[in-house]
């Protein structure tokens, strides 16, 4: 009897001991597990599934047919795919104007005068409005027959080009529409950043004779590094996943000249019922994003190491 109690006692001691010994290793996993489970089901599994689908030909229902790398081979020779990729690059490059504009709007609004809060919220307004509304409004601005811009420019003797109907201009027309809310977003990021700028440092710089441009570049901007980093991150992601504006303003047209990868993927899946081909496009887009995400993670990692 005494023996039994002692062994059972020992067992509980040993399991407890194992837990106690590895507590620091186990607990983080326990805490991460719920989030990881969700992430695995809703993110990782669909990614694997899309990549797998990209090697098949599938209508969305019915049998799947394994075609190996055929979809990728077709992509390589697909004119529209290359147009979309080039347009994505235009988006990426031109969208970087948003942090720049956002910074200047923020600097301009970062003053204490009566009613500035109202002005700030008005500037932030386009980001709150749905992208669909932004797209519709800009499409009306651009309308060459009844639109606002044409109506203003026509009496001045300037003929306004049909931006969204022109194969060379459509993409840029959409990007301008996209810059509007994106600038507002970057502005907010910079405004909060400016709040934490150390006024004593500015004072000291002023005393040393720094002003204007030099003050901005040497003293203010370095303190806004965190805001700049986030603004860049959200802008690049915004550019790569540009979809709603394209869908609402041109549907990728005229004849695919304003298409982007995300919309071309949707076009193939929804209008042409080519799930396999659409998945191949998604996989390529994913690979492109990964390059950027890896850069982002490395930056983050380096930062954390530096902080320690």
């Amino acid at each position: 009897m005494a023996e039994m109690t002692s062994t059972s006692y020992q067992r509980t001691m040993s399991t407890r001991g194992f837990y106690r010994k590895h507590k620091l290793v186990i607990m983080p996993f326990v805490f991460i597990a719920p989030a990881f489970a969700m992430f695995a089901i809703f993110v990782i599994y669909p990614i694997i599934q899309s990549v797998a689908l990209s090697f098949t030909e599938w209508q969305g229902i019915g049998p799947k047919r394994w075609v190996g790398l055929d979809n990728y081979r077709e992509l390589w020779g697909d004119r529209v795919f290359w147009t979309s990729l080039v347009n994505n690059i235009y988006w990426l490059v031109l969208f970087l104007l948003a942090p720049v504009f956002g910074l200047f709007v923020a600097l301009f609004l970062n003053q204490t005068v009566f009613g500035i809060r109202l002005v700030k919220s008005l500037f932030f307004f386009p980001f709150v409005v749905s992208q669909i509304v932004v797209g519709l409004v800009f499409a009306w601005f651009y309308d060459p027959a009844f639109g606002l811009l044409a109506t203003i420019l026509e009496p001045l003797g300037i003929s306004f080009p049909p931006i969204l109907a022109d194969e060379n201009l459509a993409t840029f027309g959409i990007i301008v529409a996209g810059l509007w809310p994106q600038t507002a977003y970057c502005m907010i990021l910079y405004l909060t950043g400016l709040n934490s700028v150390n006024p004593e440092m500015i004072e000291a710089a002023r005393l040393d004779g720094a002003k204007g441009w030099r003050l901005l570049v040497k003293i203010v901007l370095p303190q806004l590094r965190a805001a700049t980093f986030i603004a860049l991150v959200v802008t690049v992601i915004g550019a790569l996943r540009s979809f709603d504006l394209v869908a609402i303003m041109t549907e990728g047209g005229p004849y695919n000249s304003s298409n982007v990868l995300a919309y071309y993927m949707y076009d193939n899946a929804i209008f042409r019922y080519r799930m396999g081909y659409a998945s191949a496009i998604a996989t390529v887009l994913f690979a492109i994003m990964n390059v950027y995400i890896i850069w982002f993670l490395l930056r983050l990692w380096a930062n954390e190491k530096g902080a320690r």
Binding site: A145, A165, G253, P254, Y273, R274
Partner: protein
Amino acid sequence: MNFFKTAVCAAALTAMAASVSARELVINANTSDPAQRQAMEELVASFESEYPEIEVVFNLYDHEAFKTAMRNFLVSDAPDLITWNAGNRMRVFVELGLFEDVTDVWEAEGLYESMPAVIGASSVDGRQYGVPYAYYAWGLYYRRDLFEQAGITEAPTNWEEFMEVGAQLNEAGITPVTIGTRNLWPAAGWFDFLNMRINGAEFHAELMDGEVAYTDDRVRAVFDAWAELVEADFFIDNHPGYSFQEALPFMNQGDAAMYLLAPFIVSMFPEDVLENVDWFPFPIIDPEVGIYEDAPTDSFHIPVNATNKEDARLFLAFAARADVQTETAATLDMLPPNVNATVAEDRFTQGGFAQLSRADGIMQFYDRDTDPALARVGMQGFQEFMQNPDRIDEILERIEAERARIYGEL
């Protein structure tokens, strides 16, 4: 506590009783335009009053959303009845084994006799897979007052007259035709009619089935005629920038005179404009070729995975009845496929009816007759051609490449 238990039991019992006695009929529909929506709600209401023991659950989807959603619900959670289109669009689902064979309804209700015009459109290999409730004629809607302003007294019936009308309108400062090609399909209407008028329906059907190359000389002839129109400034500028509704103001404001479209446009005209709007069929190009028309047909289908197929069949029989079709088609501004039904007394419906009655054959529509992937590439090509007629060779090669990918090399 006891009271609570009794209440729960009672509730459960009623629920069970309800699920036993109520015959529930689930209908998923894509009829989201105002007139379509009203017509469908009225149809459901009159069905319920005729069969009070059946409870209809009516789910309305947006047109485009329905196309995606049906691929899910037909497999996973099938309703008892859906609205869809006859022709190739139906065939796709029949071949996937997702639509129920309803030949028995056609036989029992004598639909072969009462709906002769749509037998072909709703059959695959001699079996019927749906019951049409409405179809409609495409044609040129035009403003009589603008025609008169340009000194035109009669609607054109052949190609020469049509070109002449265009020249006269242009001279009077009116663009002959408005069109919005951002949604792509309005351009396909022009292709369909030009091809049917020049090459006939047999060739058109072969082309839709992928049996002829797009680089064929006969297809080329269609684009030559189309280029004539483009070069004679028939179409409004910048049409890729407009959806089909956004192109309508040009006609309302008197800047353009004609629009090749279907009856769903009628309810979109403001009343004062509508007074002057009239309709004429697409002009004859080659008198040797018979008259073929685009007449898209909308129909009901029973999914194979439906639970209440019996009541769905009741609904099909009801929706096919002459008096019911009279009502539905009139609300839709469309035509009832049932020959015993009455065609509404307005000039568009009557005109469309007369035209289809003398037609030698009907097709559905470009994006309903051919493979959806090919239709998309084809229509983008049409849009590009209307802006750049000189790129025709490159465009046709691109469409042909897509045809070859889907249907195989010839």
